[in-house]
């Protein structure tokens, strides 16, 4: 599955993890329960309207704030295929790779994609195609080590494999 395709949902700068999944729902870690409140404090109707495959497109510093892995888990369980942002907060960046949520850093894509645009992403090359506007953008390449984590299906599988040696 090297191509991701879906409709873009736009968000601004500094979307924090409290907006992605508010702490009032953190007394559980069940992905489906978390998904039902995904992005709730940024857009209360989000969980109800998002379709499988859809893409979140945001400004800079996406996922800032707490270390809660519940944030990428909620996004993934809500059916979002990937997140494109101008930049990511560092813990969110790690967490997304570790749990296998594809994310792409591209200030250009973040600026040019509009809400509702049909977007296609080639995971390996990091090429982002805006089908609605017939534009292409490039994402920052992912370091090879992190590609290995993705290829293994997340950090846990990677570690398990390493331990089996």
């Amino acid at each position: 599955m090297n191509q991701l395709r879906g409709k873009a949902w736009k968000f601004g700068d500094d979307i924090d993890t409290d907006a992605i999944i508010p702490a009032r729902y953190l007394n559980t870690s069940d992905p489906q329960e978390l998904a039902a409140h995904c992005m709730e404090d940024a857009d209360p109707s989000f969980a109800g309207k998002v379709q499988p495959g859809d893409i979140i497109v945001a400004g800079k510093n996406f996922g800032c704030g707490s270390s809660r892995e519940h944030a990428p888990i909620a996004i993934k369980a809500a059916g979002i295929s990937c997140v494109i942002a101008a930049s990511f907060a560092r813990i969110f960046y790690r967490n997304a790779f570790n749990i296998g949520l594809p994310i792409f850093e591209s200030p250009e894509a973040a600026a040019k994609i509009r809400e509702g645009d049909e977007v296609m992403v080639d995971v390996e090359s990091g090429t982002i195609t805006n089908l609605t506007r017939r534009e292409q953008y490039r994402a920052t390449p992912v370091p090879p080590f992190m590609q290995e984590i993705i290829a293994a299906g997340g950090l846990i599988n990677y570690v398990a494999r390493r331990l089996k040696g």
Partner: protein, 420 residues
């Protein structure tokens, strides 16, 4: 090749002579921490790896502090996962209600962190321990699971930014004001992926509690870690406390920095961060007339003894405004006990405040002081995001403990001088 303190600690833990910013390395972890929100996910992932035991039962620390004493059945189930795992793995450092504290107040106090350590925690404010001259950073639950199994973690060596603070601080100005001012200057992603190194005469004069407050909020500028080079104050603090040997590192004089900021803080006023970002900072004299319904003094940012002493000095013999709820939460049992002995708790209760057992509670909108729609809270915590302390239409303002106490008395954001 010259290195910064952060680079030296990372090189030593990666078994390398030197490291450079941008380099991906595997580091040995001295301590791995989880709490009642992040550890249940980490434990689930740990069990998927297929190892029986954690890498070292003395180096995995579990602190249920966010939703304890448990606020509902679900959070009780979460905390029980930690308790069961701690028992099964025979962890030395598991802290139960009544003997615990907010993790980032507790670990330094217990001597579990020392200069030169690498500490990772599944909590973003793990960066607090940088105040002791350690490399400490927040990670997610899956990273914690991997570290619990391997005793190692992959990291990218961060570039460092050096902050030099000159001048003597005004009365009622402390670590919280320095860090709020700094975030106001550089923004909430001003140190993204980088190390913040806090130096200069004003830092040398700052107490350990003040330094812990500063390093605590490095993540609010997007930083990977905050660090204060160890000095006499550091060594006085860790002597007699440290449970493991430690090692002092210093940055080389010609170490390379991505940026150097110099601030004259001799005229700095207490700072207040307005909703909804910690960078939205103003001096308290420019706050205007902002009425508040709740004040919270506590959290891993400002729930330490020095913070409570400051609040007590302002509250002594005064009454909390009739329209305000003042909630005071000592960071650990030890802080609580000392505050009792020193008569601080009595001052708080006489003033009309509620004093709670240690917990994160309202800081993350968990329990013990949730805001209704339209309510405003002034807090000594570290985040004022939308909905952080309750309803998405409530507001959180951030400040130091003295400003919080004065404002609780007047019912609006106020400088300590206004009540003294």
């Amino acid at each position: 090749m010259p290195m910064t303190i952060t680079e030296k600690i990372l090189a030593a833990h990666a078994g390398l002579d030197r490291v450079e910013p941008g380099q991906l390395i595997n580091v040995r972890v001295d301590l791995a921490l989880g709490n009642d929100i992040t550890a249940p996910v980490a434990i689930r992932e740990f069990q998927r790896i297929g190892v029986e035991k954690v890498f070292d039962r003395e180096r995995v620390v579990l602190v249920p502090d966010h939703f304890v004493p448990n606020k509902d059945i679900k959070s009780a189930e979460q905390a029980k996962i930690l308790r069961d795992f701690a028992r099964q793995q025979q962890l030395t450092h598991y802290y139960e209600v009544g003997r615990m504290g907010i993790e980032h107040c507790l670990l330094p106090e217990e001597g579990l962190v020392g200069p030169g350590d690498v500490v990772i925690g599944a909590d973003s404010h793990t960066c607090t321990y940088g105040a002791l001259g350690a490399f400490a950073t927040g990670v997610g639950s899956t990273d914690l699971a991997a570290a619990m199994a391997l005793g190692e973690l992959w990291l990218k060596v961060p570039e460092s930014i050096k902050f030099i603070y000159y001048g003597e601080l005004q009365p009622w100005v402390g670590g919280k004001d320095l860090i709020l001012y700094t975030i106001g200057q550089i923004g909430v992603d001003g140190a993204l992926y980088r190390a913040m190194e806090f130096t200069g005469p004003a830092i040398s004069a700052l107490s350990m509690d003040g330094r812990l407050t500063m390093a605590n909020m490095a993540v609010e500028a997007g930083a990977k870690n905050g660090i204060v080079p160890p000095d006499e104050i550091t060594l006085n603090y860790v002597r007699g406390r440290a449970k493991r040997p430690y090692r002092v590192y210093q940055s080389d004089p010609d170490a390379r920095y991505a940026a150097v900021y110099e601030f004259d803080v001799s005229k700095l006023e207490p700072q207040v961060a307005f909703p909804h970002l910690p960078s939205n900072v103003r001096p308290v004299s420019e706050a205007g007339h902002v009425e508040i319904q709740q004040v919270v003094i506590g959290s891993c940012t400002n729930g330490r003894l020095e913070d409570l002493r400051l609040a007590a000095r302002v509250l002594q013999g005064k009454k909390v405004h009739p329209d305000v709820r003042l909630i005071i939460i000592p960071g650990t049992q030890e802080i609580y006990r000392t505050a009792l002995k020193e008569g601080l708790v009595e001052i708080f209760i006489e003033a009309g405040a509620a004093v709670s057992t240690p917990t994160c509670g309202p800081c993350l909108g968990g329990h013990m002081g949730i805001l209704a729609a339209g309510e405003r809270c002034l807090a000594t915590t570290n985040r004022n995001f939308v909905g952080r302390m309750g309803h998405p239409e409530s507001e959180v303002y951030l400040c130091n403990p003295a400003v919080a106490a004065a404002s609780a008395i007047l019912g609006r954001i106020a400088a300590p001088q206004e009540v003294l």
